[in-house]
């Protein structure tokens, strides 16, 4: 006989973990700083590959002399197997200026085979609008998803289920956001893609469990909600583990390969996604249904008064 894990009993601890998570997000954001990628804040990012050796100080001085000293940051890094000069500037370099910069670099360092690998320039105003649009996208998706859940689970108090699901989602988004902060990954359009994917995945997870709760509720309408939820969670455990494992393994493969080959753009996508997937699995089991049962119990008490 399988031992039944008391998920519902865990709920107070879950809530505490949630609140600490939110607090951590706020604290770390202030302490470590949130960096926005140029697609949101605007500016220019140019990456030139080079061969041989270059001295960072000399390169920085040269570039500053060409572009002006203010708000220019120069870094020498490695990415995808190449040595890169990374230049970022807060305002936009027009193509004419970009060309001038490339020519100047080539002239200054003729033996280092300087090649413009990647150049991106975004107007700050466009960046801001794009950011607003992305937030809207997340809001829209959340809205559609709540409506869908409320409708599908109307028999067991759909709206409360929808709200609980949103609460779980916010937790997951916070955890993924934490990944961006801790690893100092600038927030860009990948950030939004990750957020939206986790919304979908986490909700998917939560729905599968609520589906079981709905089914059991119909069969066990006299039993306390506490037991119905616990039973449903224990029954769903096998599937939850399998699916979490599959998606997490899939993303881990991507993250590991990207880390090995030093591909920043993929890492900035895969690691937060992993955080979100882990969180999604956790909240679907330990947070959302148990807390929902708490809500339902309170509602039932009010009803009996």
């Amino acid at each position: 006989m399988k031992k039944n894990f008391d998920f519902v009993g865990f709920r107070k601890i879950s809530l505490i973990i949630s609140l600490s998570l939110f607090a951590l997000c706020i604290v770390l954001s202030l302490v470590m700083g949130v960096e926005m990628d140029i697609s949101f804040k605007g500016g220019t990012l140019a990456k030139y590959s080079y061969t041989g050796t270059l001295e960072e100080g000399a390169v920085t001085d040269f570039i500053e002399s060409k572009l002006g000293k203010d708000d220019v940051i120069v870094d020498l890094t490695t990415s995808g197997g190449k040595t890169i000069i990374s230049i970022s500037k807060t305002d936009v370099l027009s193509p004419e200026d970009q060309e001038a910069l490339t020519e100047a670099l080539k002239a200054q360092y003729p033996n280092n085979k300087i090649v413009a690998e990647q150049v991106n320039a975004v107007q700050p105003s466009m960046g801001r609008s794009f950011f607003a649009k992305c937030l809207l996208a997340v809001g829209l998706a959340a809205l559609f998803l709540i409506l869908y859940v409320a409708y599908r689970f109307r028999k067991i108090g759909g709206f409360s289920a929808g709200l609980m699901a949103v609460f779980a989602l916010v937790n997951d988004l916070a955890f993924a956001y934490l990944a961006f902060i801790i690893f100092q990954i600038p927030l860009n359009d990948n950030f939004v893609a990750v957020m939206l994917t986790i919304l979908g995945y986490s909700l998917n997870d939560t729905i599968v469990i609520f589906d079981r709760i709905r089914e059991n509720r119909a069969k066990m309408s006299k039993e306390p909600i506490h037991d119905v939820v616990n039973l449903s969670l224990n029954q769903s455990l096998g599937r939850a583990i399998s699916t979490s494992l599959s998606t997490i393994v899939a993303m881990t493969c991507v993250a590991v390969v990207a880390a090995v080959m030093n591909l920043d753009s993929i890492i900035s996508f895969a690691i937060p996604m992993l955080f979100g997937l882990v969180s999604g699995s956790y909240t679907s089991l330990f947070l959302c249904p148990p807390v929902w049962s708490l809500w339902m119990e309170k509602k039932a008490k009010k009803g009996n008064k």
Binding site: F144, V208, M251
Partner: protein
């Protein structure tokens, strides 16, 4: 319970195998030199510029206070399209964002390209290309509409021609780059123009007037490019611009600019991005490796844990991936393929993980039913029925997310953007297409999951259960006896 016949499994498995193989290889026939593509394979997948390398730029009116009409924006779009085509770029994405007066262009480097100079390519695309012929070459200071001299920040003025305007680019029928040998034996590159009816008389009068007495200056965007002496009365409407072109390519560039026509007003680049091809190639390789490893690990896990339903799941997953790749490559001719970017590939990998869920839920349910003591047929039947609602709801949520992703991050003309336009119209159109690709691959993956992971999986499983040798509770998740 509806009985599914025994051979069904093999039929389905074979069909899936056929799909998988043809998706990867495509179907081609060769007639001597010529290869005809009947069905596209993964080799035909169009990769985004983050993989292939390429250029993207957003253009807006140079005068920020100007409110361009839709017609003008469309005209700009057409001119840029012409310029791309004349430069040999046919694989481009070009769309307008009429609400914000922007034109967005994106194209990959041609495979034979050696000079990856994005900045000059963008400048060329955005050049106003206003061609003018004037009598003589006197200039005056440029004035604005009120008649006041325009000075830039250093106090310099722009010189514009003061002679009478003879012709504009609109009067040119065609322009062509040509070369000839001069009397010294040097090769000279020129652009020869043929004028339309409208321009011939004006040009004839101008050449008659200046014949032997002066020049007719030729200007491109307030820059004088040529100032030849007139020594003939030209009535056939043919003119030659000899402007110190050093190479045939230089002459061809000007000829193309003139042919594509002038833009209605000056535009400037608001956003630009360029990537060299090599940065993307490693990324593509990495993702493919990751995908293969992920698939393999998941397959092994599924077979070990779920045994018979696990095997069915792996076949279904292969079918799902193949189906998704087919939609991306344009295998199905009624469906235009997708430009696949790195996030798009991530979407395929993620949909493998999510797709396996459909089979997992079913397998778990069947396992439960077997352990509860039901018969094989009963367990399979009840298991598949009970799990459907969960799978359906779960998949629909991912579909909703995918649609929002495609609407927000796609071009304004896409179906999804139109659906969501009531919410999105304040905002500028996204200038990078990479996330759109992610939404698309997720959507396509989930749809194929319904076909493969739900419908065909069930058929295969029920068919397999008809085989006596396979009718063991253990194989469906029961305890080992």
């Amino acid at each position: 319970m509806k009985r599914v016949a025994r051979p069904v499994f093999f039929v389905v498995a074979l069909l899936i195998a056929a799909l998988v193989i043809t998706t990867f290889t495509g179907v081609y026939s060769q007639y001597g030199d010529r290869t005809d593509t009947h069905i596209k394979g993964v080799g035909d997948i169009r990769f985004g510029i983050d993989i292939r390398g390429g250029v993207e730029a957003t253009f807006g009116p140079a005068d920020k206070n100007m409110d361009a009409t839709d017609k003008q924006m469309e005209a700009i779009k057409d001119v840029i399209a012409q310029r791309l085509i004349l430069n040999g770029v046919t694989d481009y994405e070009l769309y307008t964002d009429l609400a914000n007066d922007q034109v967005i262009v994106r194209y990959p480097w041609a495979s034979h390209e050696t000079e990856f100079d994005a900045a000059s390519a963008i400048q060329e695309l955005g050049q106003t290309a206003r061609l003018e012929f004037h009598i003589g070459s006197e200039t005056k200071d440029k004035t604005d509409d009120k008649g006041e001299v325009i000075k830039d920040e250093n106090g310099n003025t722009t010189k514009v021609p003061s002679g009478k305007l003879v012709l504009t680019g609109d009067d040119v029928q065609s322009a062509e780059a040509q070369s000839y040998q001069d009397d010294k034996g040097q090769i000279v590159y020129v652009v020869s123009l043929e004028l339309k009816e409208s321009g011939r008389k004006a040009f004839a009068d101008a050449t008659k007037q200046q014949n032997g007495k002066g020049t007719i200056s030729i200007w491109l965007d307030d820059q004088m490019i040529s100032n030849p002496n007139v020594n003939a009365h030209i009535t056939d409407g043919k003119a030659v611009i000899e402007g110190g072109f050093e190479t045939m390519a230089d002459a061809a560039d000007l000829a193309n600019l003139i042919t594509s026509g002038a833009l209605p007003f000056d535009i400037e680049v608001t956003n630009s991005g360029s990537i060299s091809p090599t940065m993307g190639e490693t990324a593509l390789e990495a993702m493919v490796i990751a995908g293969i490893i992920a698939f393999a690990l998941i397959a092994v896990y599924m077979i070990i844990r779920y045994r018979l339903p696990g095997v069915v799941a792996v076949i279904a997953l292969a079918g799902q991936v193949a189906g998704a790749l087919a939609c991306i490559s344009g295998y199905f001719t009624f469906f235009e393929g997708l430009t696949l970017t790195i996030p798009g590939i991530a979407g395929i990998i993620l949909s493998i993980g999510m797709g396996v869920d459909a089979n997992t839920i079913t397998a778990e349910r069947i396992k439960e039913e077997i352990r509860a003591g039901r018969t094989i047929d009963g367990a399979v039947d009840r298991g598949t029925k009970a799990s459907f609602s969960a799978i359906f709801d779960g998949n629909v949520t991912v579909i909703i997310v995918a649609i929002v992703l495609m609407g927000v991050f796609g071009s304004s003309t896409s179906l999804w953007a139109k659906l969501l336009s009531w919410a999105l119209y304040f905002f500028p159109v996204a200038t990078t297409g990479s996330v759109y690709s992610f939404g698309f691959t997720l959507l396509v993956g989930i749809i194929w999951n319904f076909i493969m992971g739900v419908w065909l999986s069930r058929m295969m499983l029920k068919s397999l259960c008809r085989f006596k040798a396979l009718r063991k509770p253990f194989l469906l998740g029961g305890e080992r006896v």
